[in-house]
Every structure is written in structure tokens, then in C-alpha cells.
């Protein structure tokens, strides 16, 4: 069996999540790791018999790679994708795909022009509970949604700064926005609000500590999304959907469907990241492309997240239909 040779750009926490999956796939070889923190690249390479590099150019000098995982923080996007696209390599990239819309749009058109296979790490799409929700919603479409990311502040200091992470809507709640788009369809308008509280234990934190957004979908459904990083624990992360005679609650580990007969909860089964990685590898290997979130698809979600931030900044609603 030939092995698909994968290189990693960025070997931080989210990369480890994918490595845990990819190392178990018999048709994958982890060939090389690039990270500006060379010791981190060495650590990963020495677990898999791979090569380590201090930058992506070194990694991409390996002409035997079949595909690349780009697992870098939000502010670092751009050069890595361009270099991968220039070499005509399929890539998987973690969300959010950029901080600036123009960069993501440019990259999306370059990807399209090159006809590359791409995938973006919106792994909620791969929950079996989401499959179930999609089936139910086909008969009883959602008319209203409430999305939540009510959580603690992530420890990495880059996350605390808007010019590094884009803020909570762009960095975290984007998962729930993407889930809403996956289940309900495109968004046509958004209105965002944001507030900020100084916190002595998070010096220099300048991202909104609370933010909300009202959305309207092309289906006519309406939604509200709430984010906060003020808690010291994870409180609620998920999406609630309401239709005619149905209320549904999704988290990343279970689904509750209330049709007036109690509140039955079913736990999610299997690993959505495993399915996400498997689909990407299969597509790279020339098998059926079942990837649920391509770069172009992720761009649509990213546009919504950035529009919320923009709306909160200007105080004006943003209408997305023309841009779609």
C-alpha cells in the first residue's frame, strides 16, 4: 500500500490533535514538521521518524510530499498557504483561515485557479449528532437559532489580542457560525455588538470580553449568537435550533431533540476529527472527495464572523448577500 506523505506547518496544540489521528492511519506517512520553534518541530519529527524544519520553505523543499497540514495561529496565515499553493499541493488548514478578508479571498481564488483539494478544520460538521440534526431539519427547518460560546479565556497570550486572534467571534464562535451555516444555509445580514471589561489577571487583553450577533439567513431564519471569555470555566458551547414543534440542542458531544416528549439526550459517537482527516486523506489519494468544508466554503463562514466584528465596530448592520 502506498503511503500518503504529509508535512505539517505549525506543530502546536491543534496539530497534535490531527497527529493523534493521522498516526493511526495505515496509509499515511508523517514526513516532515516545520515550526519557528525548532524544538517543537524536532519533538514531533522524533516521534514519527520524520524531518524537522525551522520554516515552511524548508519543509516544502521536500518534493515527495503529497499534502500539507497548516496549523498556525490566526495572525500567521498567508505566506504558508501561498507557498503550498505555489507547489500545487493539497492542504488542510485550521480555522480561522485569516484575520483579513482580503487575504482569505485572494487565497481562495488562487486555490480555485489551481484546482487544489483543500479542507478547513470546521470539524463540528463531522459530528454524527450533526448528521442526525441535518436529517431532522430537512423535514422541519429551523426558524430560529441561538448559538453560544460561553467560556474561559484561552491561555495563549496571542489569543488576548484582536490583531493576533481576531477576537472570540472569529477564533472560537466561528465553529458555531459554521455549524449554523451547514445546517440552515447562507447568512444574508448581521448586526454585532461587543463589550470589553478590563481584567487585571489578563494584562493587555484587548479582545471583546462579551459579544453578541443577530443574523438573518437566506431561508428567512433568524439567529442570535453570544460569546464571552469572562468565565473561569467552560459554561456552554453549542447551538440551539427551533422550528415548528421542535427544539434541538447541539453541543460537541451530544444532541437533545425536544418534540414535547421529554428531553432525550444522545451522546455523539466516534471522533469527528478522525472523520475529517480521513476524508481529506481519501480525497488526496484520489478517492471520492467527501470533504465537508473546503477553503471556499470556510471563506463563507469567515466572512460572517468578520462581518460581525465589523458591525460591532461601526454600529451598522452588514448585508452579505451582494458579497456572496
Amino acid at each position: 500500500m502506498s503511503k500518503t506523505r504529509i508535512g505539517f506547518i505549525g506543530v502546536g496544540g491543534i496539530a497534535q490533535r490531527h497527529l493523534g489521528v493521522l498516526e493511526s492511519l495505515p496509509d499515511v506517512e508523517l514526513a516532515g514538521f516545520a515550526d519557528p520553534d525548532f524544538n517543537r518541530a524536532v519533538d514531533a519529527a522524533s516521534r514519527y521518524g520524520a524531518k524537522a524544519y525551522g520554516d515552511h520553505d524548508g519543509l516544502l523543499g521536500d518534493t515527495s510530499l503529497d499534502a500539507v497540514y497548516i496549523c498556525i495561529p490566526p495572525f500567521a496565515h498567508g505566506a504558508a498557504e501561498r507557498a503550498v499553493i505555489a507547489r500545487g499541493l493539497p492542504f488542510f488548514v485550521e480555522k480561522p483561515i485569516s484575520l483579513e478578508l482580503s487575504l482569505a479571498e485572494t487565497l481562495a481564488s488562487e486555490v480555485a485557479a489551481a484546482g487544489l483539494i483543500t479542507a478547513v478544520g470546521y470539524h463540528w460538521r463531522y459530528l454524527d449528532t450533526v448528521d442526525e440534526a441535518k436529517r431532522i431539519l430537512a423535514d422541519r427547518p429551523a426558524q430560529m437559532l441561538s448559538g453560544y460560546w460561553l467560556d474561559q479565556t484561552p491561555p495563549p497570550q496571542w489569543w488576548w489580542h484582536a490583531d493576533k486572534s481576531g477576537g472570540q467571534m472569529v477564533e472560537q464562535t466561528t465553529h458555531i457560525l459554521d455549524l449554523a451555516r451547514y445546517l440552515v444555509g447562507d447568512v444574508v445580514s448581521v448586526y454585532g455588538l461587543a463589550g470589553h471589561t478590563q481584567r487585571p489577571d489578563f494584562p493587555g487583553l484587548d479582545v471583546p470580553t462579551v459579544s453578541t450577533a443577530s443574523l438573518k439567513f437566506s431561508s428567512g431564519a433568524i439567529a442570535n449568537f453570544s460569546s464571552t471569555c469572562l468565565l473561569r470555566w467552560g459554561h456552554r458551547v453549542g447551538l440551539h435550533l427551533f422550528g415548528d414543534g421542535i427544539a434541538m440542542e447541539l453541543t460537541d458531544h451530544d444532541i437533545m431533540v425536544d418534540i414535547g416528549a421529554g428531553r432525550p439526550v444522545r451522546h455523539a459517537e466516534g471522533d469527528p476529527v478522525w472523520r475529517e482527516d480521513r476524508d481529506f486523506i481519501d480525497a488526496v489519494r484520489g478517492e471520492t472527495n467527501r470533504i465537508r468544508c473546503s477553503y471556499g466554503e470556510a471563506l463563507k463562514t469567515h466572512r460572517v464572523a468578520l462581518a460581525i466584528t465589523e458591525s460591532a465596530r461601526t454600529g451598522q448592520a452588514v448585508f452579505l448577500q451582494a458579497a456572496e
Binding site: V42, D43, S46, A50, K51
Partner: protein, 364 residues
């Protein structure tokens, strides 16, 4: 697969990297070492040299064995710093059904009957043993199965040209003050003690001489204490581990290696490659490197003689330069990495030619 379980893969590690780099166009080379601090630091150097790396845990060698099989390794080449190292790796390679080569980096020094018996048992399964010098190979001649012993002399890539001023400025040394460099781990084998004992006599004739010790190791505290007790702190400088060897060699006027025994010391080859005059002990591996006609050889463990030969080398700059030039010529003809790699590749080819092994050679 080039593997070692050496706890401190310094010279041996550099040998593996040089070999790997020289063979990487013919073979898919992976450097393996245990996952402790020294091992990972070595693997980082190997990775910087562009080689594939894998770390293993001594507590989970079967896991490494499974990796060897899954990765489709064609053979395992174990590097032993001393005779008691590497036995588990040899067994692992054989259990994985691979041809196993083993390079001995030091002469046969085992005195414990248990270690001797373990070595003999290991020899039964290993396919080929390589000695890094004639002296090393001959020291194993009395062992059984020595027909499998092959001598492939150590070789190194020509070091890049260093900056003479960088280290001298760091040390605050005048241009004409003689710098005597010793790059060696602080172990009893290297016998820094004899050199420290020689320092006062050298200073009588050359009071501005500066002895510079590069490296670390278990004996360092004892040697530093010796230096303090003799009040030599102004004349002996400890630089610790350094990775700017070309600059260190460029800054030096004499290279001193007082070892009691050696395989074939890479640091001498590096000093030879840049034409640096050498004062060293007349022991097998060292003599093999610099030649028996070298003018500045001394009996090991004799500080008085060491001091007087250093004095001669410092006093007769022309003779020292001639010895340095001769060393450079000798290096070019005998100790380049390409020659070592070619001989090693020829050995590998013998194992890979068999129909039973997956060929990992690249079609380059």
C-alpha cells in the same frame, strides 16, 4: 536506520550525522536515539543537518521494534560508544528480521567477565562489526567472530572556515597571545588532569599562554577545582559545550588532546582539516589520525613531557606550521567523509543485494 543508545552521543553522534549526510542521496537515512535530554539535543542536530529522526524509549524498545517494521527499514546500523552499549538495539534489529551492522567507536575495553560475556553473545547475532580505526579493529581481534570485523576509518566533512577574532575577542586575548585549545568531554579517558598539571611549566616559558577547554562531562568539577587549587584561573578557561567549532579552531594556535585512549577522535580530524598544529598523546587512535611521524606526540599521563612538547610547539612556530600543513595533507588524503561514506555504502550494498530484503536505496 542509524541508531545509538549512547547516553552522551557527542563525537559518536557527529559521526552518525556526517555518515547520514554523506549517504542521504543513496539511502533513506533515519537517525535514532533515546528520548532523553542529550538524545533529543543530538536528534535536533541531526534534524538541522536535514536528516530524518526518531526517538525511542529504553523502557519501550519493543515499540521501537514495531516502528522499525512498520517503517520498512532495510537494515539497522548500531553505533556503540563503548563495548557495553548497543546490545539491546542489536537484538531488536535481529528480532525485526533486519541485517544489523555495528560500529565500535572505541577500542575493546571490557574487563568485567559479565560484560565480556554479553559482548560475545551479541557478536553471535550481529552481521558485521565496523571499527573506526585500525587500532579499534585490532583491539577486537581476540574476540570470536572477528572475521566479521571491518575497518572503516572515521571521516569528517571539511569544516567551514572560522573567524579567528570571534573567540579571541570573547576571551579578551591579544593577537599574539598563544591559545591552546582542547575540545573533549571531561571524562577520565580524556585526562585533562595531566594537561592541567602541565600548565605551570608551560607558563614559565610562555606566561601569556591561554588554555581553553571546550566540553562538559562528569570530571569537569574536579578539573575546575584543580585549576583553582593551582591558581591557574587566569590561564585556563572553561567554555562549556560549544557549537562554533570552526571559530574555536580558527582562534587557536595549538590543539592539545591528552587522552589515555581513543577510537579515532573526530576533533583531531577537524584540527587537521584546518591545518592546526596538534600536541597529543601517542595512543592508537590518535597516532592513526595524525601519523606516527608527527613531531609533537607524548606518552600519555606524563605532564612534564606534555609541558615540554607544548613548549617546543609554541617556541618553534615554523615546525608547528609544518606539522599543521602535514596534518592537513594527511586529512585530505585519508579522512574525508566521502571516503568513509563510500566504504560504508559498499558494505550496505552487500546486505541490500539479497532478495529477501526490501530495498530502501533511492534511485538517484
Amino acid at each position: 536506520m542509524l541508531a545509538t543508545d549512547s547516553l552522551e552521543p557527542s563525537g559518536l553522534g557527529e559521526h552518525m550525522i556526517v555518515l547520514g549526510q554523506s549517504l542521504v542521496h543513496q539511502y533513506d537515512i533515519v537517525i535514532a536515539c533515546q528520548n532523553d535530554e542529550n538524545g533529543i539535543a543530538f536528534l535536533a542536530r541531526a534534524a538541522k543537518a536535514g536528516l530524518r529522526i526518531i526517538a525511542f524509549s529504553l523502557d519501550d524498545l519493543p515499540g521501537f521494534g514495531r516502528w522499525l517494521k512498520a517503517a520498512g527499514a532495510a537494515f539497522l546500523h548500531v553505533h556503540a560508544g563503548i563495548g557495553w552499549e548497543g546490545h539491546e538495539l542489536v537484538r531488536l534489529g535481529k528480532a525485526a528480521g533486519l541485517p544489523v551492522l555495528r560500529t565500535e567507536h572505541l577500542p575493546y575495553l571490557l574487563t568485567s567477565p559479565v560484560q565480556q560475556a554479553e559482548y560475545a553473545a551479541m557478536l553471535l547475532s550481529v552481521d558485521r562489526v565496523i571499527g573506526v580505526s585500525q587500532g579499534v579493529a585490532e583491539s577486537y581481534a581476540a574476540r570470536p567472530n572477528t572475521a566479521r570485523m571491518k575497518m572503516i576509518a572515521n571521516g569528517i566533512a571539511t569544516p567551514s572556515c572560522g573567524n579567528r577574532q570571534a573567540v579571541r575577542s570573547e576571551l579578551g586575548l591579544r593577537d599574539d597571545a598563544p591559545l591552546l585549545l582542547t575540545v573533549a568531554r571531561f571524562t577520565q579517558q580524556k585526562d585533562h588532569a595531566s594537561l592541567v598539571a602541565a600548565v605551570p611549566q608551560v607558563l614559565l616559558q610562555h606566561p601569556d599562554a591561554r588554555f581553553v577547554f571546550v566540553g562538559d562531562g562528569p570530571e569537569q568539577d574536579r578539573i575546575e577545582q584543580m585549576v583553582r587549587e593551582q591558581g591557574l584561573e587566569q590561564s585556563v578557561t572553561f567554555l562549556g559545550r560549544r557549537f562554533d567549532v570552526p571559530d574555536l579552531l580558527a582562534a587557536a594556535d595549538i590543539f592539545v588532546l591528552p587522552s589515555l585512549f581513543e577510537g579515532l577522535p573526530l576533533v583531531l580530524l577537524e584540527a587537521m582539516a584546518v591545518g592546526l598544529p596538534i600536541v597529543a598523546t601517542a595512543i592508537d587512535g590518535t597516532v592513526e589520525a595524525i601519523g606516527k611521524d608527527h613531531p609533537f606526540l607524548v606518552t600519555p599521563g606524563d605532564p612534564m613531557l606534555l609541558a615540554s612538547i607544548i613548549g617546543i610547539a609554541l617556541g618553534d612556530r615554523e615546525a608547528a606550521k609544518a606539522a599543521g600543513d602535514a596534518g592537513k595533507t594527511r586529512f585530505i588524503h585519508q579522512f574525508q567523509a566521502d571516503r568513509m561514506a563510500m566504504q560504508t555504502a559498499a558494505l550496505y550494498a552487500g546486505f541490500l543485494a539479497g532478495p529477501s530484503h526490501t530495498l530502501q536505496a533511492r534511485n538517484s
